[in-house]
Symmetry: C2
Subunit: 215 residues, 2 copies
């Protein structure tokens, strides 16, 4: 991958309701950071766009820190079409609150109310935004599918709907864990099972599968 | 504080909507962990009830790990009335989703909908539950007020409404930061300003203020 430009997203996003509360998920960012390190090691020019995580930025990698899904989309749009491969490993929130309050919501302002409703708007799908806007198949685009049921069927549908070149299907039990297990899916090919291994080893497998098909 | 029983809560809580998504805040747990360490160092018998954080459990401290506000309430109820001092340093979520879905919400199930509403129920106030149920002023109860506006006025109201013995009022800029600054408020006393310092040093100040009044 020497000299190739690789863009990776990692971590969760945070969708703030007010200055302190937000909707998120437990993504640790480990997979995306492992991919960025492995790509750098393979000689690529790497940009890593990361949501809030507790990880050390990989050396030799250009880091862009973001908070929300909309921030991440804007950062990705700036880089994606200059990249050879785009790997969307971030666990981007599908929804954001319709309103972000400028001050912390106080209980007293809703005293006596036992319930409230929060209106949520759908976030754009970053991978789909990129795959649909690209020309001549650039960047080659890799997504992840984290599923709680019907892993392969749901992953295959995402591969098609989002017009991706590859999808890594994970059972949801891998979130916030050190190990990884996965199936790799490509358009028009049978799924390839990748046996449980460390996230570093999984990252190397993903990159070599991508490189074989892209280069 | 030799031999005294001190119960501390720390960290955020997570309020799950489905197996992967949750509402939370950026509390690092540092203040609560610093309090537990300082109390242990002062010879107390310490229990630390903690939401999900990235911190090493203090040695010599009994740890109870919880996820949601309801989990934390139940863990606190088991310990609080056996404790001399209860310090509620956790940033407990005020609200939880009315429904927790057993499977990850799929975008396709809400295809075409640009917005959804999430019904949230009010969580119990853990400090207030303890202060109102206690007999003979045991445990002596310390709360925190993290405010984005009208710091002292809002903190004074919380001290009174929740019937606490002490409240530590922080501007919300301290969340997820290594340093702390605060006012200490007690019923019928003027606020005491504590100048900016490390969270370890702030923890020692809080404990000595509590010990002077409780013992």
């Amino acid at each position: 991958l020497k000299g190739r430009r690789i863009l990776v997203t990692a971590g969760p996003t945070r969708e703030y309701l007010d200055p302190v509360r937000f909707l998120t998920n437990a993504s640790s960012g480990q997979m995306g950071y492992a991919l960025a390190r492995a790509a750098r090691r393979a000689g690529a020019v790497v940009t890593l766009i990361s949501g809030p995580v507790h990880l050390t930025p990989p050396s030799g990698v250009r880091m862009v820190s973001v908070v929300s899904a909309m921030d991440m989309l804007h950062a990705v749009l700036k880089q994606a079409f200059l990249s050879d491969i785009f790997i969307g490993a971030a666990a981007v929130a599908d929804w954001r609150p319709a309103v972000r309050l400028p001050q912390k919501i106080k209980k007293k302002s809703i005293r006596g109310r036992q319930s409230v409703s929060i209106k949520m708007l759908q976030n754009p799908d970053i991978l789909q935004e990129i795959s649909r806007r690209r020309t001549r198949g650039k960047p080659w685009t890799v997504g992840f599918a984290l599923e709680t049921e019907n892993l392969l069927r749901n992953a295959r549908r995402k591969l098609q709907d989002k017009e991706l070149d590859m999808i890594v299907a994970n059972p949801h039990t891998v979130i916030d864990r050190p190990h990884a297990e996965a199936y790799f899916l490509f358009p028009g090919e049978q799924p390839v099972r990748i046996r449980p291994r460390t996230k570093d080893s999984m990252a190397a497998e993903i990159l070599s599968a991508a490189a074989r098909r892209y280069l």
